[in-house]
Structures are given as C-alpha cells and as structure tokens.
Amino acid sequence: MRSVIALLIASVPLHAAPTASEGADFFENKVRPVLANNCYACHTNSEMGGLRVDSREALLKGGKTGPAVMPGDPEKSLLIQAVRQTGELKMPKGGKLKPQDVAALAEWVKMGAPWPETAQTIPVSKSKQFTITPEQRKFWSFQPLREPELPQVKEKSWAKTNIDRLVLSKLESEGLKPVAPAARRTLIRRATLDLIGLPPTPDEIDAFVADKSPHAFEKVVDRLLASPQYGERWGRHWLDVVRYAEDDVRGLDPKDRGYMPFSGAYVYRDWVIQAFNQDLPFDAFVKAQLAGDLLDQKVRPKTVAGTAMLGQGPWWWDQAEPVQGRADERNERIDLVSRGFLGLTVACARCHNHKYDPISQQDYYALAGVFLNTTYTEYPTSSPAETAAWQKQQKKIDDLDEELDKFIQEEGKLYAEVVAHKTAKYLVAAWKVTGEPKMKLPEAAAEEKVDPELLEKWIKFLGRPQKHYPYLLDWQDMVKSGGTLEQAQFLANQFQDVVLSVLAEAKELKKENDIIKAKADVKEKPHRDAYPNEFETKDQFCPGCDLELKTMQPLERSSIYLDVFVYDLDSETEQKPDPGLLNLKDWSLERHFSTEVTEHIAAVRAEIEALKKALPQQFPFVHGVGDTKAIQNMHVNVRGNPNNLGDEVPRRFLAVLSSDEPKPFSNGSGRLELANAVVASPIAARVIANRVWKWHFGTGIVDTPSNFGQMGERPTNPDLLEYLAKTFVDNGMSFKKLHREILLSSVYQLSAESSSVNQEKDPANRWYWRANRRRLDAEAIRDSVLYASGALDLKKVGGPATDFAADNDRRTVYCKVSRYRLNDFLQVFDFPNPSFTAEQRFSTNVPLQRLFFMNSTFVYRQADRLAKRVYDEGSDEARIRKAYRLLYGRVPTEAEMKAGLEFVRANPEKPGNQIAGEPPTPWKQYARVLLSSNEFEFVN
C-alpha cells in the first residue's frame, strides 16, 4: 500500500505537490533552512557521497547508498535515518540536528516531500565562477555582530552581570542549576593563576578572605590586571596561537646542521607581553603583527616588532625544491592568519574549493598573493653604528676561522705531497719489516729515514685484502714469495710513480674544474646566517650541482687516489671511514709542521678566542617581514601544484567576509589592507572573544576555537558569544575590560563541586553550571614551584631566552622554545607544537610528569628551598602549618597534620648526617610530596 502511494506521489508533476500551499509553507519555514544550514555545505556542489539535497529529484535519486527520501515513509528514508542517527549513517558529520528539526524533516517526508515550484536549484558551477549562496552567507559566524536581548531569569539575585543573565537563562532553559559559589580562598587562587599564572601569596589570601567590602574581589581583579605578570601569562596564551618559536628547522645550515636560531626572537615575545600589559587594543595588536612595517611612520618603531609573527617562520625553502618550499610557506601563513584570526580553515582551499565552507580556491590564491609579496626582513633595534660594529667583528671571527681551516688543509696537502714523494722509501722500509729481513719497525724506519708512525700505517695499508685493493696484488705476491730487495725496490718505484701520477692528475683536474666552475659563476654554499629569503633557485639550493666536471679515469685510478689521499674504507671506526693513508689530520699532521707554522696556528687560534670573548651580546633584531619590490599576483595552482598554473588572481580579502565583491588590494603586498579587513570582520571579534573565554574557563562557547566554519562546533550559547564579542568591540577591543567583566560574573566565581542532576544533563559542563577543575599548564607548574620555594625571579624581565637549567629561576615564558627540538619538560607537560598555530592545549596525565616530580633536579632543588623556608619555624606542627600556608594557602586538617608528623618523624635523620644550615632530609622529602600533590597541580 505504502509503495503505491510513494509511486503515485513520485509520478505526479513536482509543482503539483499534494498539499500545495501548506506544504510549500512548511517546506520554506521548517525544512529548507534546516537543509541549507546543515546539509548544503557538503551536498550541493561538493556532492559528497554522490548526494545533492537541493532538489526533490536529487533526493529521490539519492547518493551512493541509495535514494535519500521515500516520499511518505520517513522510516524508510535514508535522510531521516541519517539525521536520527539510529543506524550506521550519521548526519550531519560531527554534530546532531535539534530534535525539532529532525521532527520537521520527518514530517515533511511524511507529507510526501513537497518541493514548491519556486525553489531553485543551486546552479551547478561548471565554470570557474564560484558562487556563494544566500544560505551560505547566512551561516551564523559570518553575520554582523548583534546585540543580544538580555533574557529574563528566575534567579535574579544570582545573575549579577549581563554575562550571568545569558548563562543562567541557558541553564534554566535546560533545567540546570548553578552550584554554590567558590570559597574565597579557592576563588583568589583561581583568579591569580588565571590572570598572572602564579598562585597568590598567603598574605594576599588572608587580605581577601578578611575583606568585607562588597568590592573585595573587584580589587583583587584590578590588582592582578595591573600586575606586570599579567602580560607574561596572557602574552603566552597568544604565543600559542601564533606558534612562537626561537628557531627553525633548516637543513642547509652549514654550521650546526638542522638547527637555526632566530637570535632576536625574544624581541617579539617581549613585545607581545608588553602589548598585553599596556592593554593594546586588539585591532592595533593584529595590525602590527600583519603589517607593522606598513603603518604610519610615527607609530612604526613601536609596531614593526609585531611583524616577527610572520618573519620567524617556519621557513621551509630549503626542505625541498624552492618552488614547492615557498608555496608551503605561503600555505602556512594562510593557515595561521585564517585559523588564528578568523576561525576559518582557508588552507583547505589550496587544491580545490573548500569542501564545506564558502571559500574558493580563488580566495586562497588571493591571500597567497599577499604573502608572495611579503619577504623576510630584519629590523635592527640598535643604532646602525652598533649594528655595523657587531657585524664587522663577527665577520672577522668567521673569516679567521675559515682562513685557519684552509691554511691547515693546505699545509696538510703539502705534507701529503712531500711524503708521497717518499712512497718508494716507505715501501722498501715496509719490505724490511714484513719481508725477508724481518727487521724491527724502528730500525727499518731509521735506516730508510722515514717516520715510524707513518710507516706503521703503510704496513697496515699494504696488507689490505686484494679483493678491494687489486693494485696491491703484485706487492703482496712478492712479499709472500720471499722477494729480494731489488724486487721490492722495483715494485716500490713503480708504485711511487702511480701514486705521484694520480696525485698530479687530481691536481690538474681540480684546476680544470675550478675554471669550469668559475665560468658558471657557482655561488658558495650559503653563509652562516643565510636569510630565509636567499634561496630562489635550484643552483642556490645545490651550488654547482648542474655542472659537468672532469673526472679521473678509469675507476681504478680514482680508487688508488681515494685510498691513499682521502679515506680508509677498511678502518675499524664505525659509521665514518678514517682518513686515508696520507690524509693526516689534527695532531698526526700538526706534529710535522715547522715551528713557524705551529706558532702561526697557535697565534690565530688565540686571536679567534680573544675576539669571541670580546664580542658583545648580539644586538637584537626583529626577524620581521617587508614588502618585495616588484609586486605580483598569484596564479591559481591547479590542484595545489605550484608548477601547474591557472588563472591570475588579484590580491584581495575573502569573498564570504566581504559585503560586496571584494576590492583588489592595491597597496604593496596588501598586508595592511588585509589587516584592516581582518579586524573589521565580525568573525574575528567572535573568535578572539571565544578564545579569551576558553582560556578563562577551559572550554570555549565554541570548543573548536580555530574553526568557526561548517565543520566547527556551533556555539553552545550563541547569545553569550554575541554579547562578549559585541562588548569587546564596543569597549575598544580592550582585553583587560573583557577579563574584568568575565571575572566579576557569578559564573566565573562558581565552585567546582558536582551536582548529580547537572552531571546527568550536561556532563561536560558546556553550559557552565560549575567551575572546571584544570591541571596547571607547563608554565604555571614550573612557575608555581619556583614561587613556592621562594626562588622565582620576577625582576628579570624579557631579553634572550634562557635554558631550562635546574638553577634557572626565571619565569618559564622566558625559557627557550625550539621548533627543532622542544624541551623535554615542555613536551611532557603538553606544550603545543610551536610549528603550528595551536587552538588549545591538551592536558594529559602521563607517568613522565610524575617522574618529573619524583626525580628531577629542578624539583629537588626547589623542594630543598621550600623545606628550608619551612624549617625556620620552632616546632614540627608550626612547620607543617607554614608549608600548607605557603603552598595551599590554608591550614592543614587534623588528618593531614597527623600524616605529616608521622612522615617527618618516622625516619629521623641519623645524627651527623644532617648538613649544617639545612633541614633534615625527611623535611626535604615532605616538601617534595607537598609540591607533587594534586592540590598544588590543579586549580579549581
């Protein structure tokens, strides 16, 4: 019966839907918006799974898994099964429709899936013209910022601020109740760690707990926001987004393979910290980082440091063919800017139009064009005279180093040539030792006036296996058969002739090859601090590799040359062959030098050392960017292949974020125009407001903070996000004002306690009915430990990064961040990979973290200091109380006191073992246990 109806409906003309106007209204109001907002991204032009959902025919035809809609029968319709997510097929990918939408779709199918006549199919884009449909434009994150209506709530007294009303309204509508507010001690610890990344001092806690003023917490927040440590905390959050690092992975660095530091990287890091401390408005902050070199002359000195965001790489030009490497660098910048600032994954449109979001390949190459015309540029922060002086001295050191190497090499070659002329003598001497005379080596050496050490090498060499040294065959036969001196002398002379002739040939060939190279103007290998913009051609990448040079022929001759003058393939040293017979190095060589030569070498070495010592600390650079001279547009790279060029694309902003057709950029690279367009985009305000919220609460309102597109999450509380973004913009994009408003809300001040009802309905706390308990991040852990031990050096601010040495007492934000090899501590505590823009930090719990607390020199050192701080008290009880006060800001409970006393008294130090002026060992152990506790490592 059902199938008959289906057949009937399917066969009637489309415009004659059974329930004409009613069906049409239902479709337009309830169905089309659902399809457009949730399904069009993948199932129109992209035809994922072979399915389109923008016409009735398409739905009836279906995709790879069969017809999507069986008119009249929701149960049998794949579309309905998919959105109900009851079977294998679950749609939309990564989300779920609202129940009312699912119901509407089912109802519509039941009605026979009426599709009104006016409903237009989205034109199939066969041409290169990429169209953004009105539905796509209506996607939530592209909309202008709106001022949300502030809802009425039941618990009026709880809702102190606008944020509270928006949160509470959501909670109430979902049947959730906020838990009790946090205790004051908990609250001040949370706020202090949150805003400055350090725990509060006991005095600060006491003062806040005792402060009866209604503005007590406000005072705390204002004090923290004014603290210079605020920038060190919040600047670091931002550095995650811009994948700040102090070096790059560079294969061609000739001095220290694989590792290339940006010596002045810290200038940018310090600039970011200052920007936060001075509450630089976000739009100015962004503009400086994208185009600080293009801003007005008057502000430029203050903004140019921001361009290091782009200048400090990662640069990949020497990882592959330059053309490919450069294309990948541009892709990285697009990924950074689009995800970091706009919450859009524009890099997805490199090879084809974006599969989900209305971003075309043209959009991608319009942005790529901006970076095509942006090149690495250094801006010294010292005077030109200072800069020049430093560079001059550094160059002197490099030159001397190189000269000395060359000199010793040449001397070595000369010496090899001298001893090569004594080959026959060495062979005869060798015969005297290994042949009939059976002389002792020193005697034979003395008789032939040769060097005994080298003679030993010769003897070893002459005994090498014939298989690989066929030219030794005659000699070895002669020795074996008891050859005479005459026979030995004859072969010795013959071999000397061969050795000298291959040497002469090698020298001659070198001369000829040098001429060939000179004609081809081969550049030397890149210099020590080759800039990221120095490689454009294959010849720079591999100098001289395209030349054809002259070669010693035949193979056997070059084998003799290599064995005698270059390396010993049968040496025992693993991995690298030892130098060849006459290729002397280091002491073996230098001991043959004349006094004059030796003195010269010593003098130059001393000079280099002295110069190195006298070299002042390198003046800081901004490793920034500038515009190239000749401005060009990109061509579309067909299927992402930089060698397969399509149409030229003018530089411009993303079409979907522009109200009309986006205007081409006309000012240099277009970075300033790009920066202006970015900060004017509502989506940029939403993205940063959501990031700030996530950094405060642990989860975002959109918990895919760098993806506000189709495949990202939808806001759990859209009005709240609108409010935050709108307020942020209205307040001049001030971070500090946003923090203040968030911290003073009731929702920020909730406790972390659980509630079974809430837990059931919202286990992930996505509507914020309580505070999230969070493990401290890497920086906060290290800084807190230092703070508790009393060792943290807050005065030494900024400047070159320091190592993670156990005795480094600076804040972690000033420690080294390496792309090449991330520090173990950072790695273990989930520091994000500094090669990519990071949208969040993971918070794992792995045994290596426990090992850090159990065994690291750093924690030992701090625990000892803490024990010392505590041990000054008069009694064990007072000591434990002080430890609790310093670490947790509270009094120990009776049980805790008991456990502590038992521990420190169980294994008293043996008399005489205690070091004078230091607490007994059990106290040091006790201090370490307290530092390792959950209470210390988590914030709630």
């Binding site: 990882q319 001289g544 062959p577 719990n845 290596l848 456990a899 521990f903």
Partner: protein, 483 residues
C-alpha cells in the same frame, strides 16, 4: 548532551586524563571514538581502557624500522643489473629522469652479487650475512617517492608528507593501537646522535596529542659512560632508594585522597594522577633495564656484533619483547648512506649493518617474536645507475658515486605477516625507474598499517578543519606480499 557529537563516549578532556598512563598511552583513537570505526574499548581491572579491537585481524603487533638514511643504492645491494655491467661507461638510452645533480654515463656496481637461500634471490657482497636470511625477506624492488632531496623524502618516508608538520608513522600507530606496556614509551627512536638530517620532526606527533611523540634515545657507543639510567629524563633517583620513594608515594596518596574527600571531588583527573604515579614508580626499574643490553647473554651480544647499529638492533628486539609498538633504528646522524662521490663507501656502511640486521632476524626468531614483529628496512630514496659528475667533493675530480633517485629503489620487509623469500616489483634494465608493480611510499605505509590490523583510510584525526591520515588521500595495500 545533544550538543555533543554522539560518537564521543567521554569528553576529550576526560579521555585524555583517563589515559592515565600515557607513556603507556592507550589508544586515544579508541577512546574518543572519532576515527577508527567500530573501535572498541575494553576496561581493565582498574577501569583503565585497554587495547582496542583493530579493523582487521592483525598479523603484526610491532614494527622495527631500520633506516639507512642517506639513500641506499639499489643496484649495489638488492637489485642486481647485469645490463649495467654490459653498458658500463655508456650513456643511458632514452630520457633521463629528474634527479638532484648532474650525472654522466652508466656505472656498473663495484660489488658482486650472489644467489642465496632456497629462493635464490641475489644479494650484493656488502650484505653477506643478510643474504643468508633472504628466505625470510620480502624485497620490494619497485619503491618510488616524489622528490630527489633528502629532507622531503625523509619526511615522506616517516610522516607521509614532504614538509615537516605531520605525525610520524610511529605516532599514528601508537595513536591507533595504544601500547602493550604502560611502563615504557610505546614509540622509541634510536640514533647514535641527534640530529639526523631533518631530525626530531621525523618522529614528531605534530597535531596528534604530544603523548604520541617518539621518544628519542641516543645509543651512541662512543659514549664510554653508557648508563641506561640516563637515557630517559628523570628516570633515576640518585638520592633515595625505592623504599624511601615508596614511603613518599604512600604519603602523597594519603594526602591526595584526603583532599578528594574534603572537596567531595568526583573527578577522574585526580584519580588518574594517583595511578600514573604508581606507573612512574615501576617505570624506574623497567625502563633502564630494557636499554641495558649488557644483560643479554654473551652469545646474543656476539650474534649482533659491535657498534651503534648492533646495539640499536638489539635494543629494538628487547623493546618489542616488552611490548613497545614501534622502534626506529637510524644508522647514524646526517646522511651516512649518501654516497655521491664514491659508491664504494657503501661497503663501509654494509660492514656496520650487515651483521646486526641479520642478527635481528635470527634473534627475533629465537625469541619467538619474528612472526609478530614487522621489520622494515630501507632509505628515503635510492641512487642513480649513472655516475654523478657535479661539483662538491675534493674539487670534483673524483666521481665513483651515484646521485639521488626517487624513481625506483628497494625496501625490504621481514617477519610480521609478510612473505619471505620473495621479490616484489621491478625497476627497468638499468635500475633507474620502476618498470613493474610500482609501490609508492603511501602504499608501503598503507601496507604496514594493514599488517598491524589498521585500515589506513580509517585511521584519521580531525585537525585544521579536515580529517588527516598518514596516507593523505592515497595509498593502496599491496596484498601480494602479505603472507
């Protein structure tokens, strides 16, 4: 919780902390249920999720990747070409494929080849002991990759992409399968000295959670003060013995429990730190022990011989014996097999690696691990059959070497589910380009994952707006080599 994708059994944050033992990380993929379809999670006695059920029945549980970094020459090792001998010194007929530097005429191999085993597969004189194992080896003679430079090709072989920034194959495998031993890192990288060319990005977890990073361990034998206690950061406590430590841990647990009670905190994160503390405590004994190859019998040590590669291979066997998922053994830092100017240098490298490689096959067999351990051995690319004539070394006057060749090279596999005593595919008459059954690096990766029971198209991770996988959008499982 209808705002959350229903496929997630727990929130990501909870999942990550529940992992508890993340050196001993469990299969993250299985917990967030976001990638491998039908991933199943089982809970052990402590309620900790354990190994998941893979897509296919796995044929191997571990991988040992022996990396001859720099570029092993196929025509001098496993892919003999009589035509090279015949046409030595003559130009290559036809079009010359893309490579890095200027090259000249065809050059015969300075090494002789010999038939080994029942299969009669020919192996060059630089690998005589390995030749004896040829009936256990599956020699793929038709590998190819994309770019004739070390960095991109090293990356392709290790992370499946020519730029840094993708997760290493070892990270993908541990992400997908978790580990069997929570007291040891599950992805270990052994190389005498870091950096190799490219270096740590080769074993980086990139956008996968940092727990999937390879743990790099220097196994240089040059360091006379070799101390297994120093190999892993903070693994050893030289101030307190285990008993004293235990008393500290007991106190800590007591205090942490008191705090949980006081705050009535029901939070899996807090419970998890207690567990990982226990694991960390046990790791202190187990981890240094596994790296201490001196504990092996004299016969075993002799089987492997001396040197870094020998120690690397033996350590690898000990690691997989204890449940480590993937071990990579690099020959040495830099590009040690990169013999542009004198291919005879291969003889030197062969001497260092022939015995350890053969020993590894024999030793895994005697430990009963050969069938469950997949050995992969190869380079980022091969070398040209023609001599290189460009500039660079000794003024350019000596040329017995070969340039980079991405168009055809050899990788061999053994153990864990591959057929022994076979060759797969072929290069042309001179050994330059693939002529039959080409196997791209993506195909190799797909096949390795298949042997581990993973469908390479389903092992995905959502990052930057799309699902990433080791094989990108390519890769075919080569079933012909599967036993």
């Amino acid at each position: 919780m209808r705002h959350l994708p229903p496929s997630r059994p727990v929130t990501r944050r909870e999942a990550l902390c529940r992992m508890g033992s993340g050196f001993g990380m469990l299969s993250f993929a299985s917990m967030v249920g976001q990638s491998i379809t039908r991933a199943a999670t089982t809970l052990d006695a402590n309620g900790v999720p354990g190994a998941r059920i893979p897509n296919f029945k796995p044929k191997a549980k571990h991988v040992i990747f022996l990396f001859m970094n720099g570029g092993l020459s196929q025509v001098d090792s496993f892919d003999p070409k009589p035509m090279l001998e015949k046409y030595h010194g003559q130009p290559l007929p036809g079009e010359i494929p893309q490579h890095e530097r200027k090259t000249g005429n065809l050059m015969k191999s300075p090494f002789t080849f010999k038939k080994y085993g029942k299969s009669g597969i020919e192996v060059s004189e630089i690998f005589p002991m390995l030749g004896e194992c040829v009936d256990d080896m599956c020699i793929i003679r038709s590998m190819y990759t994309d770019i004739p430079n070390h960095e991109p090709s090293l990356l392709m072989m290790n992370v499946g992409h020519i730029q840094p920034g993708r997760p290493s194959i070892g990270s993908w495998i541990t992400y997908g399968l978790g580990t069997e031993n929570r007291n040891l890192p599950s992805f270990v990288v052994l190389c005498p000295e870091v950096p190799t060319t490219v270096g740590p990005p080769l074993w980086n977890s990139a956008f996968l959670p940092p727990v999937y990073q390879g743990t790099y361990i220097s196994d240089s034998v040059k360091d006379k003060k070799f101390d297994p206690q120093k190999l892993i950061a903070n693994i050893h406590n030289d101030k307190f013995d285990l008993k004293q430590q235990k008393s500290e841990i007991d106190l800590l647990e007591k205090l942490d429990r008191l705090q949980i009670e006081q705050e009535r905190a029901d939070d899996p994160q807090l419970e998890a730190t207690l567990q990982s503390m226990e694991t960390a405590y046990r790791m202190q004994t187990e981890a240094p022990d596994v790296f201490d190859v001196r504990k092996e019998s004299e016969a075993t040590i002799k089987l492997y011989g001396e040197g870094s590669t020998a120690r690397g291979c033996l350590t690898a066997a000990r690691l997989v014996e204890r449940g480590v998922r993937m071990v990579q053994v690099y020959y040495a830092k830099g590009d040690p097999w990169d013999h542009h100017f004198d291919i005879e240098l291969h003889r030197k490298n062969g001497k260092d690696s022939d015995q350890p490689f053969a020993a590894l096959i024999k030793d895994l067999k005697s430990r009963g691990l050969f069938d469950e351990t997949l050995i992969v051995c190869g380079s980022e690319f091969g070398r040209t059959p023609v001599v290189e004539v460009g500039s660079g070394f000794m003024g350019g006057q000596v040329h017995n070497g070969r340039d980079h060749n991405p168009h055809g090279f050899t990788v061999w596999l053994a153990g864990g589910g591959v057929k022994g005593g076979m060759t797969y595919g072929a290069t042309d008459d001179f050994g330059w380009k693939v002529a039959d059954k080409g196997m791209h690096v993506h195909d190799l990766h797909a096949t390795i994952l298949y042997l581990l029971g993973i469908d390479h198209t389903k092992l995905t991770y959502r990052y930057s707006g799309r699902d990433f996988r080791l094989t990108d959008v390519a890769g075919n499982v080569i079933h012909d080599i599967v036993a």
